[in-house]
């Protein structure tokens, strides 16, 4: 018998090539370029290799490190708000929407999802106006219900600004977890639910005991998406608070810190090397977070085959 040599399957390479090429050029090369840039320092004589010196400056120099830790903590807080507010509300909305007795479901679904497709610039600007102490509707609306005393210029107060922005971002993006969970809920086969009903599990108990375990993998994915999105966030802060992320850097997150450092701001001339160092740190933080999820959490999630 002549062993048939399997022909080389060229078509796989050919079909992969365009995507791989584009991805390499626009994602992988710049990523390595950034990592490389962070190991150099610009001097009058050109770029000099300094090893990990830039990282030492970022984490060791009191000024750099205080800005960095401030930005990182703000970022963590930003993420916490999303996890505590956006995702539970998203799940709740999805649970409500998947209730067959709810009327106008299509309308609610669309209305809640619409902000997601708006530009950050519009969202930042609109909310700045809504919350404006001078022209905004917020003070007036609070006055109508007799709660005027609760109004504060939230975006201008150190203690509230970041939380306010976090909630604005939640308002904008709550549609995404809602849609993903909604899809996951719809894909639960009716037989399982009927079986649950036969066993006497209905209403809230059915949600907690049957549906929630089945949508856990989706919740995991949403958490990762939220994590990556939050630690890459920049636009909303930049468009509503400016590159200096006022007041007093209380809304400064890694994205704005990176922008200011890399491109410079006003009289500050940009420092691409330190900027790249911050960008690399962001990359490592996100990488660590995603790895933690992939290896520690996702492998333990039980998947159900229907």
């Amino acid at each position: 018998m002549l062993a048939h040599k399997r022909p080389i399957r060229w078509h796989i390479a050919v079909f992969l090539a365009p995507a791989l090429l584009v991805y390499t050029i626009v994602m992988i090369l710049p990523l390595f370029g950034t990592l490389q840039l962070s190991l150099f320092r610009g001097t009058s004589g050109g770029q000099v290799f300094v090893g990990l010196e830039n990282f030492r400056t970022l984490l060791g120099d009191p000024r750099w490190s205080s800005s960095f830790w401030n930005a990182l903590w703000n970022n963590v807080w930003f993420f916490i708000i999303h996890m505590l507010v956006q995702n539970p509300i998203g799940i709740l909305l999805a649970a409500l929407l998947s209730n067959p007795r709810l009327r106008l479901r299509g309308f609610y679904r669309t209305a809640i999802f619409v902000p997601t497709i708006l530009s950050f610039v519009i969202v930042g600007f609109v909310w700045k106006l809504l919350l404006s102490p001078i022209w905004g509707v917020a003070p007036g609306l609070l006055d109508l219900v007799g709660l005027k005393s609760l109004f504060a210029p939230w975006l201008g107060k150190e203690e509230y600004a970041l939380t306010t922005l976090g909630l604005i971002s939640v308002w904008q993006f709550v549609g995404i977890p809602m849609m993903l969970i909604y899809a996951a809920l719809l894909s639960i086969p009716d037989e399982i639910l009927e079986a649950a009903e036969c066993d006497g599990i209905t209403g809230m108990a059915q949600f907690w005991k049957i549906k929630l375990p089945l949508i856990l993998p989706s919740i995991g994915i949403i958490s990762v998406l939220t994590f990556v999105g939050n630690f890459n966030a920049f636009d909303l802060i930049y468009s509503s608070q400016g590159a200096l992320a006022g007041p007093n850097f209380s809304t400064d997150i890694l994205g704005t810190f990176l922008y200011r450092t890399f491109f410079g701001f006003q009289l500050q001339i940009g420092d691409p090397n330190m900027g790249a160092t911050i960008a690399s740190m962001m990359f490592f933080i996100i990488l660590a977070g995603v790895c933690l999820y992939l290896f520690a959490i996702q492998t333990r999630l039980r998947r159900y085959q229907f």
């Binding site: 000024r63 102490p133 201008g156």
Partner: protein, 422 residues
Amino acid sequence: MKQNRVMMFLAASSMLVGTAGIAAAQDVTLTIESWRNDDLAIWQEQLIPAFEAQNPGIKVVFSPSAPTEYNAALNAKLDAGSAGDLITCRPFDASLELFNKGQLANLTELPGMENFSNVAKAAWQTDDGSATFCVPMASVIHGFIYNKDAFDELGLQVPQTEDEFFALLDKIKEDGNYIPMAMGTKDLWEAATMGYQNIGPNYWKGEEGRLALIKGEQKLTDPQWVDPFRTLARWKDYLGDGFEAQTYPDSQNLFTLGRAAIYPAGSWEISVFNTQAEFEMGAFPPPVKNAGDTCYISDHTDIGIGLNAKSPNAEAAKKFLTWVASDEFAKIYANALPGFFSLSSKPVEMEDPLAREFVSWREKCQPTIRSTYQILSRGTPNLENETWTASANVINGTETPEAAAERLQEGLASWYKPQQGN
């Protein structure tokens, strides 16, 4: 708009190709890079026709980009060799860097440069003053613009001293019809530029203090540098409700709608306010401590114009720059843009009363430029940007004047040699 710009670009580039192909007798086209897109009409309708009428054979195209993108876009274009022939210059380090990289030509010998004083040229010179690389075009002056109708209604007089100033603010506040002062801290720079740099020169004695700081003879923690913060901290009570979230356009609107009586200003507001405000306006310089003290004003060199060192049309461009240095340009520019004052040593006749009021302070007060702009904002942390945050903090009441000054001094001393070790 965008399409227009593309069209203009296409037109300009096809013209360039045209001139390259045909003989030299063709028209030369000069392109001006600028961030002043607000001024497009003035350039196209007044300045360029005036120049072209006198210089047949030279065409000029004004091609501005958005202010916040200008520096980055210009650097990219210069590096790629696609920048225009004439470059509008930001003051100090941004332009100095371009000169050091060989991207701006040396204009020290340009005919017409003798029309400018050394202070006027300082923003576009090397640190030792040996080379000048941009023709100074205009400066802006800080002060306070007030609503004359409101002042008449309440029977108020323009304040001369700081005590009078605060007494005046108290009166307006007591009356309750107007917000005493329209300023917010949300955008940070308002607090620093219209606040600290506006009233500060009276404390640090203008150039004297500014240069002493650069030499390292004074510190930001000295009383003359902390006092302006102390005064700013008192402003808090006279700003509108929720000033912490009030943005720069909010402040402008509050004033032009007649809801606020006083606006801490830069003279660049004049042309905007003239078209928007329906009441009469006046202006007064920052009040001095005691009656009879010398007054100091911030007369900040803000805009200049230089020559792209790689321009193929250098001769024509130099002709244009000499014209920019002339009286004729100064007169058209200052009148078309009240609030941007000519830096020429020869006085320029202006028609706008508010602009005339501002410029009249040059005669009785000592001019200086913003303290943080020359040399002191070269390092990290950047003194100018830190001053924004510090001024806003002080007005918000979240940082004491002393603590703010201490922080600024510490930041400056961390990289600036003359401020170390004394």
